[in-house]
């Protein structure tokens, strides 16, 4: 007998998301993903000064705070036809690279780890054995028996007080947790260290971007932080970069390998079919050729058939979204006319539109980027992917999974972080030559169209702007979480998360941790109660998770 469960809200994400699944014989048979908030920023943008669009769209989210800022400024630059100077390009890449470092560390440790790591089990760990394990697998700068005793004591105080704080209301003790107590204690310690580290990483943004969140140094034509192009500011940046990159190399990657080693069966669960990456990090004026993370699309998992992705092949369907009509339109023609109705999976059930590439749903994000780069044979990515697969004794096919998605995130953090060092040195070389140019002037056209294609921590992000009379006539953006968490389209094809959930085993419908694993692996950017509805008894269990 099929049973339906509703997880609303999904927590440990940014924003408001509801997931409904139908379970039969212990497996997910069908799934529906629903965005639960509408703010109408596209409507607010109409009639405004195009130069203000980056500041407004940036406020779409306070987590990936740089990304809409960058995408929007690029869309306006494309419309007004201005080429930014190399120094501006490098500074933007550095800010964007630090966004990846910051975001992905926070995602793994603070949003995703508790799906794999049982905090309460860590209390049973032997601190001495934990110290030995940590020495064996990682190069963390802290450790030792005393250190792990102290961490364990802190956790104990938390648990005994009955106030677990951030660890409150987890599915502790769930049979799906596989790590031994020592690995759980090590991960819990790294969770705490990562909290400290991420505050430092955020400072990289404040050096060339004034602050984090909501940086304030990009303008149409370049960057404004010309006064920060000094040896002391660059050295400050380099120091923070190094500390962050060391953490990625010595803690994050080894932790992912340890956790993955215990959850290899997740290399067969949670996969999708098609992958899209707009690519990012231009290393010269030539785009898309010079993108460090390349642009491409992979259909039906066929890595050999990777090809260039074209923005004109994108439409957004509103057939199952709370907007007027049922059309599928290209973003330039896109309309945003909200029409809230009841939640009805057979009709309309989400505030997200459903983006499609050549009519097909596509997963975007770390896995898509890594697969595209791997398919193109990009050396930096291929080396690390092959090394990770070898260490885990897993085939390439295992990448198409929840585990693959989580590993891809760590892999690209390492690779992009490494490239940042080169970019910093390039900036230094330019300054040595006396090139301090950070801005190119331009004229506002009366009529123009512009596109900003980007790949940001959560995936492919496009902004489309139409200018008329020097004002914004239409503005549409298709964001990573819409690609990944969007609803069915007019043809009834499920979105990537909906697809990924089908077939997921669920041991206990009242504690659906397996569903959270896959949903969180997409790093949804959309808060704390799980409502489990049993259709036979109509009973609603309310279980809170964090």
């Amino acid at each position: 007998m099929a049973e339906r469960i509703n997880i609303d809200p999904i927590t440990r994400i940014e924003g408001h998301l509801r997931i409904e699944v139908e379970i039969e014989n212990g497996k997910v048979k069908n799934a529906w993903s629903s965005g639960q908030m509408f703010r109408g920023l596209e409507i607010i943008l109409r009639g405004r000064d195009p130069r203000d669009a980056p500041l407004i769209t940036q406020r779409s989210c306070g987590v990936c705070t740089l990304v809409h800022y960058l995408a929007s400024v690029r869309a306006v630059e494309d419309a007004v036809k201005v080429q930014i100077p190399p120094n501006a390009r490098i500074i933007r890449n550095l800010l964007h690279g630090s966004q990846f470092q910051h975001d992905h560390i926070v995602h793994f440790y603070h949003l995703h780890a508790l799906d794999w790591v049982d905090i309460v089990s860590a209390l049973k760990a032997d601190p001495q054995k934990t110290a030995a394990l940590a020495d064996n697998v990682s190069n963390a700068p802290w450790g030792g028996t005393v250190y792990y005793k102290q961490v364990q004591q802190r956790l104990k105080t938390f648990v005994e007080s009955g106030q677990l704080g951030p660890f409150n209301n987890g599915y502790w003790g769930h049979p799906a947790y596989q790590l031994p107590p020592e690995a759980n204690l090590m991960a819990a310690a790294h969770y705490i260290e990562a909290l400290r580290l991420q505050a430092k990483a955020a400072k990289m943004h404040a050096i060339f971007g004034a602050k984090n969140p909501h940086l304030q140094s990009l303008v149409v034509g370049g960057v404004t932080c010309v006064q920060d192009l000094t040896p002391d500011r660059i050295a400050e940046f380099l120091y923070l970069w190094k500390e962050t990159q060391d953490f990625i190399k010595n803690v994050y990657i080894p932790d992912v390998l340890v956790v993955a080693g215990f959850y290899k069966d997740w290399g067969k669960i949670g996969g999708t079919t098609n992958f899209l990456a707009w690519g990012d990090f231009p290393e010269s004026e030539k785009e898309p050729d010079s993108l460090f993370m390349p642009r491409g699309v992979i259909m039906k998992r066929d890595l050999k058939a990777v090809k260039m992705a074209e923005q004109d092949k994108v439409v957004e369907s509103v057939a199952h979204a709370w907007y007027k009509g049922s059309d599928a339109l290209h973003p330039y023609k896109g309309v945003t006319e909200p029409e809230h109705g009841d939640y009805d999976p057979n009709k309309k059930y989400s505030w997200f539109k459903a983006p499609r590439y050549e009519g097909e749903p596509c997963e975007v994000g770390p896995l898509a980027r890594v697969l595209v780069a791997y398919a193109y044979g990009k050396k930096e990515i291929k080396e690390v992917v092959d090394d990770v697969l070898k260490k885990l004794s897993l085939p390439v096919e295992a990448l198409f999974s929840t585990l693959g998605r989580t590993a891809a995130r760590a892999i690209e953090t390492l690779v992009i972080g490494q490239a940042m060092e080169r970019w910093i040195m390039e900036l230094v070389e330019n300054l040595k030559k006396g090139d301090k140019k950070t801005y190119q002037s331009w004229q506002m056209p009366d009529k123009a169209q512009g596109i900003g294609l980007n790949d940001v921590p959560r995936g492919s992000l496009g902004h489309w702007i139409e200018i008329e009379g020097g004002k914004i006539k239409n503005y549409q953006y298709v964001v990573p979480s819409t690609w990944n968490l969007g609803p069915r389209c007019g043809k009834g094809k499920p979105g990537p998360v909906e697809e990924a959930l089908i077939g997921t085993p669920v041991a206990d419908p009242k504690r659906p941790i397996e569903i959270l694993r896959t949903v969180h692996s997409f790093d949804p950017c959309i808060a704390c109660g799980v409502h489990v509805v049993d259709p036979d008894s109509n009973q609603v269990y309310e279980i809170k998770v964090i």
Binding site: H16, D49, R51, D52, V226, Q227
Partner: protein
């Protein structure tokens, strides 16, 4: 409180667990000793309340009809929030507020009053183009649209991310983000105010 509250269509534009933000806030805030709004969204409605405000978004005080302590800013400076809470813990009362609910210890002066570029303003030394010699010399950003003269906040003093940076320091004009309705009142941002 964090975030603005949707009020159009009985709050249907924003829901958690099937309940509207409005319902949840009404229940929670009424039981609180004091309601502190952190950020411009919960203080005054924020970006989603900008014209034409499709979701009918409002700040918490206005949506619920209650008096709140507001720590606006986009982002708000955590120093100002912690200062407010510490004030309560040490002195047993909330700090003195201005007429839009902001603690005076943090929002008592304008950015312009505290700005290290102020002498350039007084000497008529202005940046007229980004990336210019004047920009490199740290001249005043008034002509680039700086809203520092109309904005009450302590950014020039406390800065952000443990004193690492702040907008005017990064050569960008202030956009007035701690003022009510700044998305409408201060825009367009790159045009000098009169």
């Amino acid at each position: 409180m964090e975030g603005a509250i949707a009020t159009a269509f009985d709050g249907a534009y924003g829901k958690i667990g099937g309940r509207t933000f409005l319902e949840i806030a009404n229940e929670v805030c009424k039981k609180a000793l004091a309601v502190i709004c952190i950020g411009t969204c919960s203080s005054y409605g924020g970006v989603q309340a900008a014209k034409p405000n499709p979701g009918g978004y409002k700040g918490v005080g206005e949506a619920l009809g209650i008096k709140t302590v507001n720590i606006p800013g986009c982002p708000p400076n955590p120093v100002n929030f912690v200062g407010t809470v510490v004030n309560y813990l040490l002195l047993g009362k909330l700090p003195d507020l201005d007429e839009v609910g902001r603690p005076l210890f943090a929002y008592g002066k304008t950015i312009h009053d505290l700005c290290p570029r102020r002498s350039h303003f007084e000497n008529d030394e202005f940046v007229k183009e980004f990336g210019s010699k004047e920009a490199e010399m740290g001249y005043c950003l008034y002509k680039m649209g700086c809203k520092g003269p109309d904005t009450y906040n302590n950014c020039p003093v406390v800065k952000f991310n443990e004193g690492t940076g702040w907008p005017i320091g990064a050569g960008h004009p202030c956009i007035g983000c701690s003022e009510p309705n700044f998305w409408d009142k201060m825009a367009p941002f790159f045009v000098a105010s009169k």
